[in-house]
């Protein structure tokens, strides 16, 4: 039994929705009633059936629509996909990883056949059946990274590792929470994290870099990050701020449930074998408040988290304009009773 892919949009009429099963599998990011940064990194191993961790590269009901949205973004702005010249080998590494993982997790939708360097890739949801020579860029319609990330949900940053640091030297970034690959390309780990408040003082980035540069082949790691987005818009880039920034002023007590979305990023980190680089997939999950509060535990907890969030974090995450409206709306769903341990719904 395969996935039923939804026909939906992430712009204009915003028809994006989660099915009831997808609401329950949403990666709710708060394990307790408050939130502060931590180095919340853990091994990226397969999780329970029916969760977003059932496969290490998750494909869900939004796959086809997300790939269509990515194609629209790229048609308007090709600089969302960039790869510095020394990163082509890492692109092949990523192509292998994503083809293998998608074929492994979803054999009814994806097939990879390898005969030495001759590979055949069948992607049924997108109607692709290509045969190419692994390592020979001229046999693909795009570079290897662009080719496979036009067929994989989530953004992808490929980091070169050298001089004890990580460098943002390639990526496909079209579903980002207000950051720009074109701005960050070529920067090192400390440079691209410079705008993040509070975490530098806590020494978090020094420890995180030490961890990441030691990620080993066959042992990926993951963490969750979150923010909020008004309307289910995947492409909230600085380049398009004029399109989505003003949305934040449109939240009213009447439309909170429909407009305000929790945006969760499942970030994972993988050592790439040939290039010795690191790939950093950032997979974005969206859920509107009306959907989220169908799980009473999540409604209570989210209320407490947003209400008590430090001011700097609320500002950094862009919540300031509508925070009080949201907290007021959520407070009606919080009877003050205790919430159970852990992320999942009750």
């Amino acid at each position: 039994m395969g996935i039923t892919f939804r026909k939906e949009t992430f712009r204009d009429d915003f028809t994006f929705r989660n099915s009831p099963e997808h609401i329950r599998r949403f990666p709710f990011p708060f394990h307790e009633d408050s939130y502060m940064y931590a180095v919340n990194i853990e091994p990226h191993v397969v999780g329970p059936k029916g969760s977003v961790l059932e496969n290490l590269i998750d494909v869900d009901e939004h796959y086809v629509a997300e790939m269509q949205d990515r194609a629209l973004v790229l048609a308007e702005d090709p600089l969302r996909c960039q790869s510095l010249p020394h990163m082509t080998l890492a692109g092949w590494d990523l192509l292998e990883l994503l083809m293998e993982q998608q074929a492994l997790g979803y054999p009814e939708h994806f097939t990879l056949k390898r005969d030495g360097d001759r590979w055949r890739w069948i992607n049924r949801p997108l109607g692709i059946d290509d045969t190419f020579t692994f390592g020979d860029t001229s046999t693909l319609p795009y570079g290897p990274m662009e080719y496979i990330t036009r067929q994989s949900q989530g953004d992808f940053c490929i980091l070169d590792q050298r001089d004890g640091n990580l460098w943002m030297d390639a990526g496909m970034v079209t579903t980002q929470a207000d950051w720009s690959l074109d701005f960050d390309i070529g920067m090192n780990f400390f440079e691209w994290h410079a705008p993040v408040p509070l975490a530098h003082e806590k020494g978090i980035f020094v420890r995180a870099l030490k961890f990441l540069t030691n990620i080993q082949q066959g042992k990926p790691a993951r963490r969750l990050n979150w923010t909020m987005t008004i309307n289910p818009r995947l492409d909230t880039s600085p380049e398009n701020y004029h399109k989505w920034g003003p949305d934040r002023a449109t939240v009213t007590p009447e439309n909170v449930g429909d407009k305000v979305h929790l945006r969760v990023e499942l970030q994972s980190f993988w050592r790439l074998p040939r290039s010795n680089g690191i790939v950093f997939p950032i997979r974005c999950y969206l859920i509107k408040m009306d959907e989220l509060v169908t799980q009473p535990k999540w409604a209570r907890r989210l209320h407490r988290v947003i209400r008590d969030l430090p001011e700097e974090l609320a500002t950094y995450k862009g919540l300031t304009r509508y925070r009080s409206t949201l907290v007021e709306w959520l407070s009606k769903l919080d009877d003050g009773s205790a919430t159970s341990q852990g992320f999942g719904p009750d």
Binding site: P85, H86, Q216
Partner: protein
């Protein structure tokens, strides 16, 4: 045992004497599958079951990264070392089942380089075997300068000359052939990266000359796994696990900690990767630091030690383990 890597169950598929000192070992997966892809410069840690003792030694992978049916390593016999290479030479035969780590690369190519200039000394040739194979497959620009004691001890020199012709230059100590290092380093095109692997003296010499001639630090790459040195036995208290252990003269501190059932993380076991860095709680005596990880300041501070290669002489040592 806790390590930074996953383990691979392998079988020794071939053992090939290369010359009087060096023997090559071939490994395949026991389940017949392909081995993980790796990048030129990567090493694996080989677990040796030597009687009661488990030895864990890192060796560079020297095969082509394009062929993962088997891994190959070359081991130089060290008659006065701690016994790992002697175990490999004497006890490892085709058909033996062994466990090795996943590949780890602490000496990777900088793929931005317009040219890769490689300097090898003796058995330090092994990572370059894989790197040259990788670069040749991609049409990369490299030049290898290889110093060995005699032609007959020039491990793989003929093979490299055959594969890469004039891109490989050989220097024989017995013929008093020397690299004209200053001239070599002064005549490289902009964008060249320098790689050196060999004895400590050679690495230091090359790094010093490169610095003196104005090479930016980030263009000079070196790999030197220090083998743990024997020394006087010493006692250590492990504060976290509440154990007191004795480090034998032929044993490393890390091995003694592991023998007591405490498993610090490790990757290289050669003072390079930083994984087993350990805090010193108190000490009365002097440290013998042999690692390339801690800064000179940290060495002087007496507050950290790399137990894979460093030792201690004195009355008491308490570690946070």
């Amino acid at each position: 045992m806790s390590t930074g890597t996953t383990k691979l169950d392998v079988v020794v598929s071939d053992v090939v004497p290369v010359n009087d000192l060096v023997t090559r070992f071939h490994f395949r997966r026991r389940d017949g599958e392909l081995l993980p892809t790796f990048s030129g410069g990567a090493h694996v840690v080989v677990e040796m079951r030597d009687g009661e003792r488990t030895r864990l030694n890192p060796y560079s992978l020297m095969g082509s990264p394009l062929d993962t049916r088997e891994y190959t390593i070359s081991v130089r016999r060290d008659d006065v070392g701690r016994g790992g290479s002697l175990f490999m030479h004497r006890s490892v035969k085709p058909g033996l089942e062994m466990v090795i780590s996943y590949p780890v690369n602490l000496f990777s190519l900088d793929l931005r380089a317009k040219k890769h200039l490689m300097l090898a000394g003796g058995i330090g040739i092994t990572p370059f075997m894989a790197q040259t194979a990788q670069l040749a497959g991609e049409g990369g620009n490299f030049e290898l300068h290889y110093t060995c004691r005699t032609a007959s001890l020039g491990t793989y020199a003929d093979l490299l000359r055959e594969r890469y012709g004039r891109r490989v230059r050989l220097y024989h100590d017995d013929l008093e052939e020397r690299i004209d290092l200053d001239r070599l380093l002064s005549s490289q095109p902009l964008g060249t990266h320098l790689y050196v692997c060999g004895p400590a003296g050679m690495i230091n010499w090359v790094r010093d000359r490169a610095a003196a001639l104005g090479w930016p630090q980030e263009t000079v790459h070196y790999e030197h796994f220090a083998a743990p040195q024997p020394g006087l036995p010493f006692d250590v208290r492990l504060a976290v696990s509440g154990k007191t252990i004795r480090v034998g003269s032929q044993q490393s501190l890390l091995e003694a900690i592991e023998a007591a059932g405490v498993d610090p993380p490790y990757l290289c076991r050669g003072g390079v990767c930083g994984q087993c860095e350990t805090n010193v709680i108190s000490c009365d005596g002097k440290f013998i630091h042999n690692d390339h990880w801690l800064s000179e300041e940290e060495h002087r501070s007496g507050r950290k030690i790399m137990p894979c290669v460093s030792r201690f002489e004195g009355r008491s040592l308490v570690l946070e383990r």
